[in-house]
């Protein structure tokens, strides 16, 4: 028996005494159930924001980029700020699923699905901005290496903007297949659990017919590992290339060799902040507190601390080198004395306070484990990281080398509307996802249940590490509704001792009433039948029926609506089962054989 040992001082990653079945049902609950009121309210708000943004986009495209607040000095502003902000947010998902998989971090399993979803939705928002900025989005295919109609004027592979096209599309598509491959077993779980025919059909299509053969799992694990290996450098490359958009230019403040690592750290920083923002709400709304625990939040806060620390050091270095270079232009870059005291002082200080000062509070363990404080800090970081990109772009451009061209940037109604629209679009996608997708990689969580589940940890603490960790010990409803293969002939019963006993004493009145209707069994003159021949009665159900006093087909065949209800009350585990399968009708056919 393979060992499931984990150091006892490690806190459990799955709280509560969970069985594998509990995980399926709790992860599937939002999909099986109906949307509540707060979901509809948030969805409506997000949809309105999205539609507003869509209107702004349509107005921009039909009128021109002049509807934005750009001027001759500041030719890039909100659009690229938002682009970089969204791409940065899109870094946490693949980092969690790829890098943490390579490092064998078990806590990733509860958060990777949603973080990846967030990644994909964020990159979709990011991709919108360059396409809108093209002015003629229907010509977006010009960024592809296709010959033009006049000969063969190609795209310029020396340009970091073209690198971006390749990097972002590779990142988006690889993240998507990584996400989807991981989703297949979970879609299959929903396909097999749901009782609605429509859902069964849809999830059947989405699950690609996943059956869970041992060979499939072997390939699945290999594919996940290789994709993680490929995606890890990919995550690092994407924001490196985004930073090249700035670093390969000769604009003071942009022309900086520190940019690639600094941007990557900043991206992970902002990505984790967004994951925290979303998951803290999601775990509450979808009742997943047992899976996304305070420990997960603390781990993510530690990543935020690390990457935030890198970002903070990078700020200080930028500030120092700008001053130390003695170049007068550097006195107006986004991290300089000039910026701190100039017309954009508020943007400078927003950056410093949000990204450097406030996250420092996470060094305190108590605050790091406080959900409210984490949520607050995550929001502050989201704002701070938006300001970082705004500062890099707008402050650096606003005071160029020629004092005569110094200018300020005023966003228009359209700039703001488009940005809010992408936030709305993002939440529309995320809310739809939270209702229809298994938001936790349940198959993966099941693999760590025995090592890191609270119930199994308690068991090991009580019985030592050599205990046989049999899931049956947690099984609350053994032998649940047996799916019976039409070709199958049951030929063996389950172990009797595992069956929980019917509470005969408290149910005595109901049992008497039931037996009065169907008749009692007299072992002296009657022989008992094999009740398991009835479709819907498994070994466990048979045990329970025996405990009540039902042993023959004759008794079962006398059951009517009223007796079915009584039976459901006595044996609460299988509500409606007997009626659905028409036990009485089946029993009658067996009597007449």
């Amino acid at each position: 028996m393979s060992s499931h040992y984990e150091a006892p001082i490690r806190e459990p990653l799955v709280l509560g005494e969970k069985s594998y079945h509990d995980i399926s049902m709790e992860v599937g609950a939002p999909v099986f159930g109906k949307a509540n009121k707060s979901w509809w309210i948030s969805f409506t708000i997000a949809l309105v924001a999205f539609l507003w943004g869509l209107g702004c986009i349509i107005y921009t495209v039909s009128t021109g980029i002049g509807t934005w607040g750009l001027n001759k000095t500041i030719g890039w502003a909100w659009d690229i700020t938002n682009f970089v902000w969204w791409v940065g947010i899109g870094h946490a998902g693949t980092l969690i699923s790829a890098v943490l998989l390579l490092f064998r971090q078990k806590w990733r399993m509860a958060v990777n699905r949603s973080a990846e979803a967030m990644t994909i939705f964020a990159v979709v928002q990011a991709g919108l901005f360059p396409i809108i900025h093209m002015g003629r989005p229907w010509l977006a295919y010009w960024v592809l290496p296709l010959p033009n109609q006049f000969g063969s004027l190609w795209v310029n592979f020396n340009s970091p903007l073209l690198w971006d096209v390749f990097a972002i599309s590779t990142y988006l598509s690889i993240s998507l297949v990584f996400w989807w491959t991981g989703l297949l077993p979970d879609f299959a779980m929903i396909r097999d659990r749901t009782e609605k025919p429509f859902q069964k059909k849809i999830y059947g299509i989405l699950s690609f017919g996943w059956s869970g053969r041992v060979k499939d799992w072997q390939r699945f694990e290999e594919v996940s590992l290789v994709l993680a290996g490929l995606a890890t450098p990919l995550v690092l490359s994407v924001h490196t290339i985004v930073s090249f958009d700035f670093a390969t230019s000769v604009v003071p403040g942009w022309h900086s060799t520190i940019y690639p690592p600094y941007f990557v750290a900043g991206a992970i920083f902002s990505g984790f902040a967004m994951v925290q923002t979303l998951l803290i709400i999601m775990r509450k709304v979808l009742h997943l507190e047992d899976y996304i625990t305070v420990l997960h939040i603390e781990y993510m806060n530690k990543v935020i601390l690390l990457t935030g620390g890198i970002v903070g050091v990078a700020y200080l270095i930028e500030f120092f080198i700008g001053w130390y270079s003695g170049v007068p232009y550097e006195n107006y870059v986004y991290l300089s004395f000039g910026a701190a005291t100039g017309p954009y002082w508020w943007a400078f200080w927003a950056l410093i306070i949000c990204n450097m000062i406030v996250p420092l509070s996470l060094w305190v363990k108590k605050l790091r484990r406080s959900i409210r404080w984490t949520f607050f800090v995550a929001l502050v970081i989201n704002i701070g990281m938006w300001f970082e990109r705004f500062d890099i772009i707008v402050i650096d451009l606003s005071k160029d080398r020629l004092t005569s061209s110094w200018a300020m940037f005023q966003p228009t109604f359209i700039d703001i509307g488009t940005f809010i629209g992408t936030i709305g679009f993002f939440f529309v996608l995320f809310l739809l996802y939270a209702r229809t997708f298994p938001v936790i990689a349940q198959a993966e969580v099941k693999t760590i249940l025995k090592t890191s589940g609270a119930g199994f940890k308690r068991l090991r603490a009580e019985h030592g590490d050599h205990v046989s960790h049999d899931i049956m010990q947690f099984e609350k409803e053994p032998g649940r509704s047996a799916f019976v293969n039409p070709n199958a002939v049951p030929i063996s019963a389950a172990n009797d001792e595992k069956v929980t006993r019917v509470d005969v004493k408290t149910q005595q009145v109901k049992i008497n009433s039931l037996l009065a209707a169907v008749g009692t069994f007299n072992p002296d003159v009657q022989t008992q039948d094999n009740l398991q021949r009835i479709n819907g009665i498994g070994p466990v159900m048979e045990q329970k029926l025996h405990q009540i006093g039902i042993f023959t087909f004759g008794q079962v065949s006398k059951m009517t609506e009223r007796e079915y209800e009584l039976l459901d009350e006595i044996i609460s585990e299988f509500p409606g089962r007997a009626r659905r399968d028409d036990w009485a009708g089946q029993a009658l056919t067996f009597i007449n054989e």
Binding site: W210, V214, E444, S468, I471, M472, F483, N485, S492
Partner: protein, 178 residues
């Protein structure tokens, strides 16, 4: 003529693991196992050969790299060389530093996507494919081992499987028409 298999259902991965080892030691043939999650080491216990998908990924990566080099060499050096910001475009080698990001991206793009497509094709996964797990509970918390019962005493085999800890044992008879 009926082809017989026995479906032994387990409710625990460790019990299943032991059962697989015992079943193989008794020289019974396990034709398939369905599990709700990857059971570590099960593929080895069943005696499956290691998957070669990682090797295909490497080869696909080489293809992607080659495509990137050939494409950029043709576009930037052969077909229409241009002086862009004074960056040398006389030979591929001189211009190469600017091409490294795209070489990397296309390597990853080809390796990742083609490997996943290969996985889907080999494991027969695609939209509208019908699921083939014989028991719906195998995607939840049950583990199903399919044992070949042909030429075996079914009664004996059943007794044996029962002792390995199976919670349900079903005989599957597939009637084959002439």
């Amino acid at each position: 003529m009926a082809a017989n298999t026995i479906h032994a259902i387990y409710t625990d991965d460790d019990v299943l693991m032991n059962a697989v080892k015992q079943t193989r030691a008794e020289n019974y043939r396990i034709s398939e196992i369905y599990t709700p999650f990857p059971v570590h080491g099960l593929d080895e216990a069943v005696g499956l050969a290691p998957t070669r998908l990682a090797i295909t990924a490497f080869l696909y990566g080489l293809v992607g790299f080659t495509v990137a080099v050939a494409m950029m060499n043709y576009i930037m050096i052969q077909d229409w060389p241009q002086n862009i910001g004074g960056k040398p475009s006389f030979t591929f080698y001189q211009n190469m530093p600017a091409f490294i990001p795209i070489m990397f991206e296309l390597t990853v793009f080809f390796a990742g996507h083609l490997m996943v497509i290969t996985f889907y094709m080999r494991s027969r996964l695609w939209p509208f494919k019908k699921a083939e797990n014989p028991d719906l509970r195998t995607t939840d918390d049950h583990f199903l081992m399919e044992v070949d019962a042909e030429n075996h005493d079914v009664e004996k085999l059943t007794q044996f499987l029962y002792k390995t800890g199976a919670s349900e044992i079903n005989l599957i008879q597939i009637e084959q028409d002439h």
